[in-house]
Protein backbone atom coordinates (compact mmCIF):
# COMPACT_ATOMS: atom_id res chain seq x y z
CA UNK A 1 0.00 0.00 0.00
CA UNK A 2 2.95 2.35 0.61
CA UNK A 3 4.32 4.04 -2.47
CA UNK A 4 8.10 4.18 -2.77
CA UNK A 5 9.63 7.41 -4.02
CA UNK A 6 13.23 8.36 -4.48
CA UNK A 7 14.66 11.88 -4.17
CA UNK A 8 18.07 13.41 -4.30
CA UNK A 9 18.31 15.75 -1.34
CA UNK A 10 21.42 17.91 -1.44
CA UNK A 11 23.24 15.08 -3.19
CA UNK A 12 21.98 12.28 -0.93
CA UNK A 13 19.69 9.57 -2.28
CA UNK A 14 16.63 9.67 -0.05
CA UNK A 15 13.92 7.03 -0.24
CA UNK A 16 10.50 7.77 1.14
CA UNK A 17 7.46 5.56 1.55
CA UNK A 18 4.08 7.25 1.67
CA UNK A 19 0.43 6.29 1.64
CA UNK A 20 -3.03 7.73 2.29
CA UNK A 21 -4.44 11.19 1.97
CA UNK A 22 -5.33 13.98 4.34
CA UNK A 23 -3.22 15.86 6.86
CA UNK A 24 0.46 14.96 6.42
CA UNK A 25 2.12 12.90 9.16
CA UNK A 26 5.87 12.50 8.93
CA UNK A 27 7.42 9.50 10.71
CA UNK A 28 11.10 9.48 11.75
CA UNK A 29 12.35 5.94 12.34
CA UNK A 30 14.88 5.06 15.03
CA UNK A 31 18.49 3.84 15.01
CA UNK A 32 17.47 0.73 13.05
CA UNK A 33 14.87 -0.05 10.41
CA UNK A 34 13.80 -3.66 10.97
CA UNK A 35 10.54 -2.55 12.63
CA UNK A 36 9.24 -1.05 9.38
CA UNK A 37 6.40 1.35 8.70
CA UNK A 38 3.42 -1.00 8.47
CA UNK A 39 2.18 -0.05 11.95
CA UNK A 40 1.06 3.22 10.36
CA UNK A 41 -1.16 1.51 7.77
CA UNK A 42 -4.32 2.07 9.85
CA UNK A 43 -3.54 5.79 9.90
CA UNK A 44 -3.75 6.16 6.14
CA UNK A 45 -7.54 6.46 6.04
CA UNK A 46 -7.21 9.84 7.73
CA UNK A 47 -3.65 10.95 7.03
CA UNK A 48 -1.05 11.11 4.34
CA UNK A 49 1.72 9.12 6.06
CA UNK A 50 5.23 10.06 4.94
CA UNK A 51 8.01 7.73 6.09
CA UNK A 52 11.48 8.60 4.81
CA UNK A 53 14.62 6.59 5.45
CA UNK A 54 17.28 8.77 7.08
CA UNK A 55 20.59 8.98 5.20
CA UNK A 56 22.70 6.01 6.22
CA UNK A 57 19.66 3.81 6.96
CA UNK A 58 17.42 1.43 5.06
CA UNK A 59 17.01 2.24 1.39
CA UNK A 60 18.48 5.77 1.55
CA UNK A 61 22.06 6.51 0.58
CA UNK A 62 25.03 7.37 2.76
CA UNK A 63 26.54 10.72 3.51
CA UNK A 64 29.67 10.20 5.62
CA UNK A 65 29.82 13.95 6.25
CA UNK A 66 26.77 13.61 8.54
CA UNK A 67 28.38 13.50 11.97
CA UNK A 68 25.81 15.33 14.05
CA UNK A 69 22.05 15.04 14.55
CA UNK A 70 21.75 18.59 13.29
CA UNK A 71 22.87 17.42 9.85
CA UNK A 72 19.62 15.43 9.80
CA UNK A 73 17.59 18.49 10.79
CA UNK A 74 19.07 20.30 7.78
CA UNK A 75 18.45 17.27 5.55
CA UNK A 76 14.77 17.26 6.47
CA UNK A 77 14.39 21.01 5.97
CA UNK A 78 15.61 20.37 2.42
CA UNK A 79 13.36 17.35 1.89
CA UNK A 80 10.28 19.16 3.21
CA UNK A 81 11.03 22.07 0.86
CA UNK A 82 11.23 19.59 -2.02
CA UNK A 83 7.89 18.06 -0.96
CA UNK A 84 6.42 21.55 -0.46
CA UNK A 85 5.40 20.46 3.02
CA UNK A 86 4.95 23.64 4.98
CA UNK A 87 3.32 22.37 8.14
CA UNK A 88 2.76 18.79 9.24
CA UNK A 89 2.43 16.43 12.16
CA UNK A 90 5.64 14.77 13.25
CA UNK A 91 6.07 11.35 14.87
CA UNK A 92 9.45 10.05 15.98
CA UNK A 93 10.61 6.76 17.42
CA UNK A 94 13.65 6.42 19.70
CA UNK A 95 16.58 8.16 17.94
CA UNK A 96 13.93 9.45 15.51
CA UNK A 97 12.05 10.82 18.53
CA UNK A 98 15.17 12.67 19.60
CA UNK A 99 15.49 14.02 16.05
CA UNK A 100 11.79 14.94 15.86
CA UNK A 101 11.93 16.82 19.18
CA UNK A 102 15.12 18.58 18.10
CA UNK A 103 13.56 19.54 14.77
CA UNK A 104 10.43 20.78 16.53
CA UNK A 105 12.41 22.79 19.10
CA UNK A 106 14.14 24.60 16.24
CA UNK A 107 11.31 24.85 13.70
CA UNK A 108 8.20 24.77 15.89
CA UNK A 109 6.09 26.80 13.48
CA UNK A 110 6.18 23.93 10.98
CA UNK A 111 5.17 21.17 13.40
CA UNK A 112 1.45 21.14 14.23
CA UNK A 113 1.58 18.24 16.65
CA UNK A 114 4.48 16.16 17.90
CA UNK A 115 4.25 12.51 18.96
CA UNK A 116 7.23 10.70 20.43
CA UNK A 117 7.60 6.95 20.91
CA UNK A 118 10.18 5.91 23.54
CA UNK A 119 12.29 8.94 22.61
CA UNK A 120 16.06 9.11 23.06
CA UNK A 121 18.03 12.26 23.90
CA UNK A 122 17.46 12.62 27.65
CA UNK A 123 20.46 12.50 29.97
CA UNK A 124 19.24 10.80 33.15
CA UNK A 125 22.11 9.38 35.21
CA UNK A 126 19.64 7.49 37.44
CA UNK A 127 17.88 5.86 34.49
CA UNK A 128 20.40 5.87 31.66
CA UNK A 129 19.63 4.73 28.15
CA UNK A 130 21.44 1.53 27.14
CA UNK A 131 24.45 2.29 24.95
CA UNK A 132 23.33 0.54 21.76
CA UNK A 133 26.81 0.83 20.27
CA UNK A 134 28.23 -1.55 22.86
CA UNK A 135 25.50 -4.21 22.55
CA UNK A 136 26.45 -7.08 20.18
CA UNK A 137 24.25 -6.88 17.10
CA UNK A 138 22.70 -10.31 17.60
CA UNK A 139 21.45 -9.31 21.04
CA UNK A 140 19.68 -6.13 19.97
CA UNK A 141 16.45 -7.70 18.60
CA UNK A 142 15.84 -9.32 22.00
CA UNK A 143 15.91 -5.90 23.63
CA UNK A 144 13.41 -4.23 21.31
CA UNK A 145 10.19 -5.74 22.56
CA UNK A 146 8.67 -7.31 25.64
CA UNK A 147 7.27 -10.21 23.60
CA UNK A 148 10.04 -11.50 21.32
CA UNK A 149 7.52 -12.99 18.83
CA UNK A 150 6.59 -9.44 17.79
CA UNK A 151 10.06 -8.73 16.41
CA UNK A 152 11.01 -12.32 15.54
CA UNK A 153 8.84 -12.39 12.42
CA UNK A 154 10.84 -9.46 11.05
CA UNK A 155 14.17 -11.28 11.41
CA UNK A 156 15.63 -13.68 8.83
CA UNK A 157 15.11 -17.32 9.73
CA UNK A 158 18.67 -18.32 8.85
CA UNK A 159 21.90 -16.29 9.17
CA UNK A 160 21.75 -13.82 6.30
CA UNK A 161 24.86 -11.90 5.20
CA UNK A 162 22.87 -9.09 3.60
CA UNK A 163 20.86 -8.63 6.77
CA UNK A 164 24.08 -8.59 8.85
CA UNK A 165 25.62 -6.09 6.42
CA UNK A 166 22.56 -3.83 6.51
CA UNK A 167 22.56 -3.76 10.31
CA UNK A 168 26.34 -3.09 10.37
CA UNK A 169 25.86 -0.18 7.99
CA UNK A 170 23.15 1.34 10.19
CA UNK A 171 25.22 0.91 13.36
CA UNK A 172 28.11 2.63 11.54
CA UNK A 173 25.81 5.56 10.80
CA UNK A 174 24.85 5.69 14.48
CA UNK A 175 28.54 5.53 15.43
CA UNK A 176 29.28 8.58 13.27
CA UNK A 177 26.65 10.47 15.27
CA UNK A 178 27.06 9.10 18.77
CA UNK A 179 30.36 7.26 19.32
CA UNK A 180 32.31 10.14 20.79
CA UNK A 181 29.34 12.10 22.14
CA UNK A 182 26.41 9.78 22.90
CA UNK A 183 24.40 12.62 24.40
CA UNK A 184 24.05 16.34 23.75
CA UNK A 185 23.56 18.31 26.97
CA UNK A 186 22.10 21.22 24.97
CA UNK A 187 19.16 19.15 23.73
CA UNK A 188 17.29 19.22 27.02
CA UNK A 189 17.99 22.91 27.48
CA UNK A 190 15.83 23.87 24.48
CA UNK A 191 12.92 21.47 24.94
CA UNK A 192 10.88 24.28 26.53
CA UNK A 193 10.55 25.63 23.00
CA UNK A 194 8.11 22.81 22.17
CA UNK A 195 4.90 24.85 22.19
CA UNK A 196 2.79 22.54 20.00
CA UNK A 197 0.67 19.72 21.47
CA UNK A 198 2.94 16.84 22.44
CA UNK A 199 2.12 13.17 23.06
CA UNK A 200 4.69 10.72 24.41
CA UNK A 201 4.01 6.98 24.47
CA UNK A 202 6.31 4.55 26.22
CA UNK A 203 6.46 0.81 26.85
CA UNK A 204 6.67 0.08 30.56
CA UNK A 205 9.11 -2.75 29.85
CA UNK A 206 11.40 -0.75 27.59
CA UNK A 207 14.81 -2.45 27.87
CA UNK A 208 16.70 0.24 25.93
CA UNK A 209 15.37 3.56 27.20
CA UNK A 210 13.84 3.23 30.67
CA UNK A 211 10.26 4.44 30.95
CA UNK A 212 11.36 6.33 34.09
CA UNK A 213 12.83 8.93 31.73
CA UNK A 214 9.24 10.01 31.08
CA UNK A 215 9.46 11.94 34.36
CA UNK A 216 12.19 14.15 32.88
CA UNK A 217 10.07 14.79 29.79
CA UNK A 218 7.17 15.73 32.07
CA UNK A 219 9.40 18.25 33.82
CA UNK A 220 10.83 19.75 30.63
CA UNK A 221 7.61 19.66 28.55
CA UNK A 222 4.91 20.09 31.20
CA UNK A 223 2.02 20.20 28.73
CA UNK A 224 2.95 16.84 27.16
CA UNK A 225 0.40 14.04 27.36
CA UNK A 226 2.45 11.04 28.50
CA UNK A 227 1.03 7.54 28.30
CA UNK A 228 2.75 4.32 29.29
CA UNK A 229 1.71 0.82 28.26
CA UNK A 230 2.18 -2.43 30.21
CA UNK A 231 3.51 -5.59 28.51
CA UNK A 232 5.33 -3.49 25.96
CA UNK A 233 8.98 -2.74 25.29
CA UNK A 234 10.83 -0.18 23.21
CA UNK A 235 8.69 -0.79 20.11
CA UNK A 236 5.49 -0.07 22.02
CA UNK A 237 3.69 0.94 18.81
CA UNK A 238 4.19 -2.59 17.45
CA UNK A 239 3.40 -4.43 20.67
CA UNK A 240 0.36 -2.48 21.76
CA UNK A 241 -1.92 -1.41 18.89
CA UNK A 242 -3.58 0.85 21.48
CA UNK A 243 -0.44 2.95 21.52
CA UNK A 244 -0.45 3.38 17.73
CA UNK A 245 -4.17 4.16 17.87
CA UNK A 246 -3.60 6.72 20.62
CA UNK A 247 -1.10 8.53 18.39
CA UNK A 248 -3.59 8.59 15.49
CA UNK A 249 -6.31 9.92 17.81
CA UNK A 250 -3.97 12.59 19.19
CA UNK A 251 -3.09 13.74 15.68
CA UNK A 252 -6.72 13.91 14.54
Amino acid sequence: MFKREEFVVDGVKTVMHSAGSGEPVVFFHGAGTIDGFDFAAPWTDRFRVIAPYHPGFGESGDDPSFTDLHDYVMHYLELFDLLKLDTFNLVGLSLGGYLAAKFASEHGHRVKKLALIGPAGIIDPQHPMRDVLVIPGDQIPGLLTSNFEVIKKRLPEKPDLDFIGDRYRESGTVARLLWEHPADPKFMRYLHRLKMPVLIVWGEEDKLIPVQQAATWRKLVPHADIRTYPRAGHLVHLEQPDAAAAIAKFLS
Binding site: L133, D166, R169
Partner: protein, 388 residues
Protein backbone atom coordinates in the same frame (compact mmCIF):
# COMPACT_ATOMS: atom_id res chain seq x y z
CA UNK B 1 66.20 -10.04 -10.12
CA UNK B 2 69.17 -10.32 -7.81
CA UNK B 3 68.22 -10.21 -4.17
CA UNK B 4 69.21 -7.03 -2.38
CA UNK B 5 71.04 -7.33 0.90
CA UNK B 6 68.36 -8.70 3.21
CA UNK B 7 67.44 -6.86 6.36
CA UNK B 8 66.32 -8.64 9.54
CA UNK B 9 64.17 -7.21 12.32
CA UNK B 10 63.40 -8.74 15.67
CA UNK B 11 59.81 -7.97 16.55
CA UNK B 12 58.37 -8.47 20.03
CA UNK B 13 54.73 -8.25 21.12
CA UNK B 14 55.60 -8.25 24.83
CA UNK B 15 52.51 -10.19 25.92
CA UNK B 16 51.35 -10.56 29.49
CA UNK B 17 52.15 -14.26 29.68
CA UNK B 18 50.28 -15.18 32.85
CA UNK B 19 46.73 -15.92 31.78
CA UNK B 20 44.49 -17.05 34.63
CA UNK B 21 43.65 -20.76 34.73
CA UNK B 22 40.06 -20.16 33.71
CA UNK B 23 40.96 -17.86 30.82
CA UNK B 24 39.27 -20.16 28.29
CA UNK B 25 35.97 -19.15 29.87
CA UNK B 26 36.42 -15.71 28.32
CA UNK B 27 35.45 -15.11 24.71
CA UNK B 28 37.91 -12.26 24.51
CA UNK B 29 41.26 -11.47 26.12
CA UNK B 30 40.98 -8.00 24.68
CA UNK B 31 38.82 -4.92 25.39
CA UNK B 32 36.78 -6.15 28.38
CA UNK B 33 39.15 -8.78 29.83
CA UNK B 34 39.53 -7.35 33.30
CA UNK B 35 42.84 -5.78 34.27
CA UNK B 36 42.37 -7.32 37.72
CA UNK B 37 44.09 -10.26 35.98
CA UNK B 38 47.23 -8.15 35.58
CA UNK B 39 49.80 -8.59 38.34
CA UNK B 40 52.25 -5.64 38.24
CA UNK B 41 55.00 -7.70 39.89
CA UNK B 42 54.79 -10.33 37.16
CA UNK B 43 54.55 -7.48 34.67
CA UNK B 44 57.75 -5.97 36.02
CA UNK B 45 59.63 -9.23 35.59
CA UNK B 46 58.32 -9.56 32.03
CA UNK B 47 59.36 -6.02 31.09
CA UNK B 48 62.86 -6.69 32.43
CA UNK B 49 63.05 -9.91 30.47
CA UNK B 50 61.56 -8.66 27.20
CA UNK B 51 63.76 -5.55 27.15
CA UNK B 52 66.79 -7.79 27.73
CA UNK B 53 65.73 -9.93 24.77
CA UNK B 54 65.56 -6.89 22.48
CA UNK B 55 68.90 -5.65 23.79
CA UNK B 56 70.33 -9.08 22.99
CA UNK B 57 68.95 -8.73 19.45
CA UNK B 58 71.02 -5.56 19.09
CA UNK B 59 74.15 -7.37 20.30
CA UNK B 60 73.50 -10.27 17.94
CA UNK B 61 73.40 -7.93 14.97
CA UNK B 62 69.71 -7.70 14.09
CA UNK B 63 69.18 -4.67 11.88
CA UNK B 64 66.21 -3.47 13.88
CA UNK B 65 64.04 -4.13 16.90
CA UNK B 66 60.30 -3.60 16.50
CA UNK B 67 57.63 -2.69 19.03
CA UNK B 68 53.98 -1.85 18.53
CA UNK B 69 50.83 -0.67 20.28
CA UNK B 70 47.71 -2.39 21.58
CA UNK B 71 45.29 -1.55 24.37
CA UNK B 72 43.29 -3.45 27.00
CA UNK B 73 44.84 -6.84 26.29
CA UNK B 74 47.14 -9.63 27.40
CA UNK B 75 48.44 -9.69 23.82
CA UNK B 76 50.71 -6.72 24.41
CA UNK B 77 52.06 -4.77 27.37
CA UNK B 78 52.91 -1.85 25.09
CA UNK B 79 49.91 0.46 25.29
CA UNK B 80 52.37 3.33 24.83
CA UNK B 81 55.21 1.89 22.76
CA UNK B 82 57.25 5.09 22.74
CA UNK B 83 58.02 4.45 26.41
CA UNK B 84 59.41 1.04 25.49
CA UNK B 85 61.39 2.56 22.63
CA UNK B 86 62.77 5.21 24.98
CA UNK B 87 63.91 2.49 27.37
CA UNK B 88 65.66 0.73 24.47
CA UNK B 89 67.52 3.80 23.20
CA UNK B 90 70.32 3.93 25.80
CA UNK B 91 70.56 0.12 26.03
CA UNK B 92 71.13 -0.42 22.31
CA UNK B 93 73.93 0.87 20.12
CA UNK B 94 73.52 -0.05 16.50
CA UNK B 95 70.11 -1.49 15.85
CA UNK B 96 67.35 0.61 14.38
CA UNK B 97 64.37 1.13 16.66
CA UNK B 98 61.00 0.68 14.99
CA UNK B 99 57.81 1.89 16.59
CA UNK B 100 55.23 0.27 14.32
CA UNK B 101 53.39 2.04 15.84
CA UNK B 102 50.86 4.36 17.40
CA UNK B 103 47.65 4.96 15.42
CA UNK B 104 48.12 8.68 14.72
CA UNK B 105 44.42 9.36 15.17
CA UNK B 106 44.49 8.02 18.74
CA UNK B 107 46.90 10.70 19.94
CA UNK B 108 47.30 14.43 19.50
CA UNK B 109 49.31 14.64 16.26
CA UNK B 110 51.77 17.26 17.48
CA UNK B 111 52.48 15.12 20.53
CA UNK B 112 53.18 12.05 18.41
CA UNK B 113 55.41 14.10 16.10
CA UNK B 114 57.26 15.34 19.20
CA UNK B 115 57.69 11.93 20.79
CA UNK B 116 58.99 10.38 17.59
CA UNK B 117 61.35 13.32 17.04
CA UNK B 118 62.68 12.97 20.58
CA UNK B 119 63.30 9.25 20.02
CA UNK B 120 65.03 9.98 16.71
CA UNK B 121 67.29 12.61 18.22
CA UNK B 122 68.05 10.59 21.37
CA UNK B 123 68.91 7.52 19.27
CA UNK B 124 71.05 9.53 16.84
CA UNK B 125 68.70 8.87 13.94
CA UNK B 126 67.86 5.20 14.53
CA UNK B 127 64.06 5.57 14.60
CA UNK B 128 61.61 4.14 12.08
CA UNK B 129 57.87 4.55 12.46
CA UNK B 130 54.76 2.94 11.12
CA UNK B 131 51.29 4.39 11.07
CA UNK B 132 48.57 1.80 11.64
CA UNK B 133 44.88 2.57 11.75
CA UNK B 134 44.78 0.30 14.79
CA UNK B 135 42.73 -2.87 15.22
CA UNK B 136 39.02 -2.62 15.86
CA UNK B 137 39.75 -3.46 19.48
CA UNK B 138 41.69 -0.20 20.00
CA UNK B 139 38.52 1.80 19.28
CA UNK B 140 36.62 0.18 22.14
CA UNK B 141 39.46 1.23 24.43
CA UNK B 142 39.96 4.81 23.24
CA UNK B 143 37.61 7.79 23.02
CA UNK B 144 37.87 7.94 19.24
CA UNK B 145 35.16 7.02 16.77
CA UNK B 146 35.84 4.03 14.51
CA UNK B 147 33.40 5.54 12.02
CA UNK B 148 35.47 8.66 11.37
CA UNK B 149 38.83 7.04 12.09
CA UNK B 150 40.12 6.99 8.52
CA UNK B 151 39.42 10.67 7.98
CA UNK B 152 41.09 11.57 11.26
CA UNK B 153 44.02 9.26 10.46
CA UNK B 154 44.70 11.08 7.20
CA UNK B 155 44.54 14.49 8.84
CA UNK B 156 46.82 13.43 11.71
CA UNK B 157 49.37 12.03 9.27
CA UNK B 158 49.39 15.26 7.29
CA UNK B 159 50.00 17.27 10.46
CA UNK B 160 52.85 15.02 11.61
CA UNK B 161 54.63 15.22 8.26
CA UNK B 162 54.13 18.96 8.11
CA UNK B 163 55.56 19.25 11.62
CA UNK B 164 58.63 17.27 10.56
CA UNK B 165 59.31 18.69 7.13
CA UNK B 166 58.28 22.35 7.08
CA UNK B 167 60.18 24.95 9.06
CA UNK B 168 57.92 26.05 11.89
CA UNK B 169 55.86 27.70 12.90
CA UNK B 170 53.20 26.64 10.44
CA UNK B 171 49.44 26.46 10.82
CA UNK B 172 46.84 23.78 10.28
CA UNK B 173 43.11 24.36 10.13
CA UNK B 174 41.36 21.05 9.48
CA UNK B 175 38.21 19.08 10.24
CA UNK B 176 39.56 17.52 13.41
CA UNK B 177 42.51 19.63 14.56
CA UNK B 178 43.51 23.27 14.66
CA UNK B 179 47.13 24.37 15.08
CA UNK B 180 47.91 28.06 15.29
CA UNK B 181 51.60 27.43 15.94
CA UNK B 182 52.70 24.03 14.68
CA UNK B 183 56.32 24.27 15.69
CA UNK B 184 57.34 21.21 17.67
CA UNK B 185 60.77 21.01 19.24
CA UNK B 186 62.82 18.97 18.62
CA UNK B 187 62.79 18.19 14.94
CA UNK B 188 63.79 14.65 13.92
CA UNK B 189 67.45 13.89 13.24
CA UNK B 190 66.78 12.05 9.96
CA UNK B 191 65.89 14.24 6.99
CA UNK B 192 63.35 14.76 5.70
CA UNK B 193 61.99 12.47 8.43
CA UNK B 194 62.47 8.95 9.84
CA UNK B 195 61.53 6.14 7.43
CA UNK B 196 57.76 5.66 7.51
CA UNK B 197 55.53 2.69 6.84
CA UNK B 198 51.84 2.08 6.76
CA UNK B 199 50.68 -1.08 8.50
CA UNK B 200 47.38 -2.63 7.56
CA UNK B 201 45.25 -5.50 6.43
CA UNK B 202 45.00 -4.27 2.88
CA UNK B 203 42.04 -1.93 2.55
CA UNK B 204 42.43 0.06 -0.70
CA UNK B 205 42.24 3.36 1.22
CA UNK B 206 45.27 2.40 3.29
CA UNK B 207 47.27 1.24 0.26
CA UNK B 208 46.48 4.58 -1.34
CA UNK B 209 47.93 6.49 1.61
CA UNK B 210 51.21 4.56 1.36
CA UNK B 211 51.23 5.10 -2.42
CA UNK B 212 50.56 8.81 -2.14
CA UNK B 213 53.35 9.44 0.38
CA UNK B 214 55.76 6.87 -1.05
CA UNK B 215 55.80 5.10 2.32
CA UNK B 216 56.59 1.47 2.95
CA UNK B 217 53.78 -0.95 3.61
CA UNK B 218 53.54 -3.99 5.83
CA UNK B 219 50.45 -6.15 5.68
CA UNK B 220 49.68 -7.95 8.90
CA UNK B 221 47.73 -11.17 9.42
CA UNK B 222 46.56 -11.45 5.85
CA UNK B 223 47.08 -14.69 3.92
CA UNK B 224 50.29 -15.03 1.87
CA UNK B 225 48.55 -14.69 -1.51
CA UNK B 226 46.80 -11.57 -0.36
CA UNK B 227 50.03 -10.05 1.01
CA UNK B 228 51.66 -10.73 -2.35
CA UNK B 229 48.80 -9.06 -4.19
CA UNK B 230 48.93 -6.05 -1.85
CA UNK B 231 52.64 -5.49 -2.52
CA UNK B 232 51.91 -5.57 -6.25
CA UNK B 233 48.99 -3.19 -5.81
CA UNK B 234 51.13 -0.75 -3.85
CA UNK B 235 53.98 -0.81 -6.36
CA UNK B 236 51.54 -0.07 -9.19
CA UNK B 237 49.55 2.52 -7.29
CA UNK B 238 52.69 4.34 -6.07
CA UNK B 239 53.70 4.96 -9.69
CA UNK B 240 50.52 7.03 -10.13
CA UNK B 241 51.95 9.37 -7.49
CA UNK B 242 55.46 9.33 -8.94
CA UNK B 243 56.95 7.07 -6.28
CA UNK B 244 58.96 3.88 -6.71
CA UNK B 245 58.57 1.48 -3.81
CA UNK B 246 61.91 -0.16 -2.96
CA UNK B 247 62.20 -3.78 -1.73
CA UNK B 248 63.31 -2.70 1.73
CA UNK B 249 60.05 -0.74 2.09
CA UNK B 250 57.99 -3.93 2.05
CA UNK B 251 58.66 -5.77 5.32
CA UNK B 252 57.26 -9.29 5.50
CA UNK B 253 55.75 -10.13 8.87
CA UNK B 254 57.03 -13.61 9.68
CA UNK B 255 56.88 -15.94 12.65
CA UNK B 256 60.18 -17.72 13.06
CA UNK B 257 61.54 -20.50 15.23
CA UNK B 258 64.87 -22.20 14.61
CA UNK B 259 66.23 -25.35 16.27
CA UNK B 260 68.69 -28.14 15.58
CA UNK B 261 66.09 -30.31 13.88
CA UNK B 262 62.64 -29.94 12.39
CA UNK B 263 61.17 -32.18 15.10
CA UNK B 264 62.80 -30.26 17.92
CA UNK B 265 61.73 -26.93 16.43
CA UNK B 266 58.12 -28.06 16.26
CA UNK B 267 58.21 -29.62 19.73
CA UNK B 268 59.68 -26.49 21.29
CA UNK B 269 57.65 -23.90 19.37
CA UNK B 270 54.20 -25.18 18.47
CA UNK B 271 52.68 -25.12 21.98
CA UNK B 272 53.45 -21.39 22.14
CA UNK B 273 52.29 -20.67 18.62
CA UNK B 274 49.10 -22.54 19.41
CA UNK B 275 48.65 -20.47 22.58
CA UNK B 276 49.20 -17.35 20.51
CA UNK B 277 46.50 -18.15 17.96
CA UNK B 278 44.06 -19.76 20.38
CA UNK B 279 44.44 -17.64 23.47
CA UNK B 280 46.33 -14.38 22.96
CA UNK B 281 44.48 -13.12 19.91
CA UNK B 282 41.12 -14.50 21.03
CA UNK B 283 38.38 -11.91 20.77
CA UNK B 284 34.86 -11.44 19.47
CA UNK B 285 33.63 -10.43 16.00
CA UNK B 286 32.07 -7.38 17.62
CA UNK B 287 35.38 -6.18 19.06
CA UNK B 288 37.16 -6.89 15.77
CA UNK B 289 34.71 -4.78 13.81
CA UNK B 290 33.24 -1.90 15.80
CA UNK B 291 30.47 0.03 14.01
CA UNK B 292 31.77 2.00 11.06
CA UNK B 293 35.31 0.58 11.29
CA UNK B 294 34.92 -1.59 8.18
CA UNK B 295 33.08 -0.97 4.96
CA UNK B 296 29.92 -3.06 4.68
CA UNK B 297 31.54 -5.10 1.89
CA UNK B 298 34.58 -5.87 4.06
CA UNK B 299 32.34 -6.80 6.98
CA UNK B 300 30.40 -9.24 4.81
CA UNK B 301 33.62 -10.82 3.49
CA UNK B 302 34.82 -11.32 7.04
CA UNK B 303 31.46 -12.57 8.29
CA UNK B 304 31.33 -15.09 5.43
CA UNK B 305 34.90 -16.40 5.72
CA UNK B 306 36.08 -18.68 8.46
CA UNK B 307 38.38 -16.61 10.64
CA UNK B 308 41.78 -18.30 10.51
CA UNK B 309 43.32 -15.95 13.02
CA UNK B 310 41.24 -15.36 16.07
CA UNK B 311 40.69 -18.43 18.16
CA UNK B 312 41.48 -21.57 16.16
CA UNK B 313 44.70 -23.52 15.56
CA UNK B 314 45.64 -25.91 12.78
CA UNK B 315 49.39 -25.65 12.20
CA UNK B 316 49.33 -26.92 8.63
CA UNK B 317 46.54 -24.51 7.74
CA UNK B 318 48.07 -21.57 9.58
CA UNK B 319 51.61 -22.12 8.30
CA UNK B 320 50.30 -22.21 4.73
CA UNK B 321 48.15 -19.14 5.24
CA UNK B 322 50.74 -16.92 6.93
CA UNK B 323 54.51 -16.54 6.77
CA UNK B 324 55.56 -18.98 9.46
CA UNK B 325 59.03 -20.54 9.26
CA UNK B 326 59.76 -23.31 11.78
CA UNK B 327 62.65 -25.73 11.51
CA UNK B 328 66.36 -26.03 10.89
CA UNK B 329 68.49 -23.05 9.83
CA UNK B 330 68.61 -24.44 6.29
CA UNK B 331 64.87 -24.78 6.04
CA UNK B 332 64.09 -21.40 7.61
CA UNK B 333 66.69 -19.61 5.48
CA UNK B 334 65.31 -21.27 2.37
CA UNK B 335 61.74 -20.26 3.16
CA UNK B 336 62.68 -16.67 3.95
CA UNK B 337 64.72 -16.36 0.75
CA UNK B 338 61.84 -17.67 -1.36
CA UNK B 339 59.30 -15.41 0.34
CA UNK B 340 61.52 -12.36 -0.06
CA UNK B 341 62.02 -13.10 -3.76
CA UNK B 342 58.31 -13.78 -4.33
CA UNK B 343 57.17 -10.71 -2.38
CA UNK B 344 59.72 -8.41 -4.05
CA UNK B 345 61.00 -7.61 -0.58
CA UNK B 346 64.39 -7.44 1.07
CA UNK B 347 63.02 -6.93 4.54
CA UNK B 348 62.22 -9.73 6.99
CA UNK B 349 60.30 -8.60 10.05
CA UNK B 350 60.58 -11.65 12.27
CA UNK B 351 58.51 -12.22 15.38
CA UNK B 352 60.98 -14.08 17.60
CA UNK B 353 58.83 -14.62 20.69
CA UNK B 354 55.17 -15.53 21.02
CA UNK B 355 52.70 -15.97 23.83
CA UNK B 356 54.16 -17.81 26.84
CA UNK B 357 57.46 -18.84 25.24
CA UNK B 358 60.07 -18.96 28.02
CA UNK B 359 63.21 -16.85 28.04
CA UNK B 360 65.56 -19.73 27.19
CA UNK B 361 63.71 -20.58 24.01
CA UNK B 362 63.58 -16.93 22.99
CA UNK B 363 67.33 -16.58 23.53
CA UNK B 364 67.97 -19.81 21.68
CA UNK B 365 65.77 -18.71 18.78
CA UNK B 366 67.35 -15.25 18.63
CA UNK B 367 70.85 -16.69 18.75
CA UNK B 368 70.40 -19.51 16.25
CA UNK B 369 68.65 -17.18 13.84
CA UNK B 370 71.41 -14.58 14.12
CA UNK B 371 74.29 -17.05 13.91
CA UNK B 372 72.91 -19.69 11.56
CA UNK B 373 70.12 -18.15 9.46
CA UNK B 374 71.16 -14.56 8.78
CA UNK B 375 74.66 -15.55 7.51
CA UNK B 376 73.06 -17.99 5.05
CA UNK B 377 71.07 -15.13 3.55
CA UNK B 378 73.51 -12.26 3.38
CA UNK B 379 74.88 -11.61 -0.09
CA UNK B 380 78.44 -11.63 1.25
CA UNK B 381 77.91 -14.83 3.22
CA UNK B 382 78.55 -18.30 1.76
CA UNK B 383 75.47 -19.65 -0.03
CA UNK B 384 74.21 -22.48 2.12
CA UNK B 385 70.53 -22.33 1.32
CA UNK B 386 69.12 -25.79 0.92
CA UNK B 387 67.59 -26.65 -2.40
CA UNK B 388 63.83 -26.46 -2.28
Amino acid sequence: MAQEQLRFNCMHFMPYAHLPENHKDYKSVWVNFSNKNYDPHKGHALYQRYLAELVLADKLGYDAVVVNEHHNTVYSMMATPNLIAAALVPQTKRTRICVWGTPPNLMLPNRLAEEYAILDVMSNGRLEVAFPLGTGMEYWANPVSPATARDKFRESLKIILQAWTADGPTTHYGNHYTYRFLNPWPRPMQRPHPPCYIVGTGSPETIDIAAEYGFGYCSVFVPQERAHELNNNLRKRAQDFGHTIRPEQLPILTFVYVAESEELARAEYLPHLQAFFQDYVRTTPQYLAPPGYLSVDQLKIRAAGADKMHGGFDFDLISKAFFIAVGTPDKVAGQLARWAEWMGSSHINAVMHVADMPHWKTVKNLTLFAEEVIPRLRKDAPQQIAAE
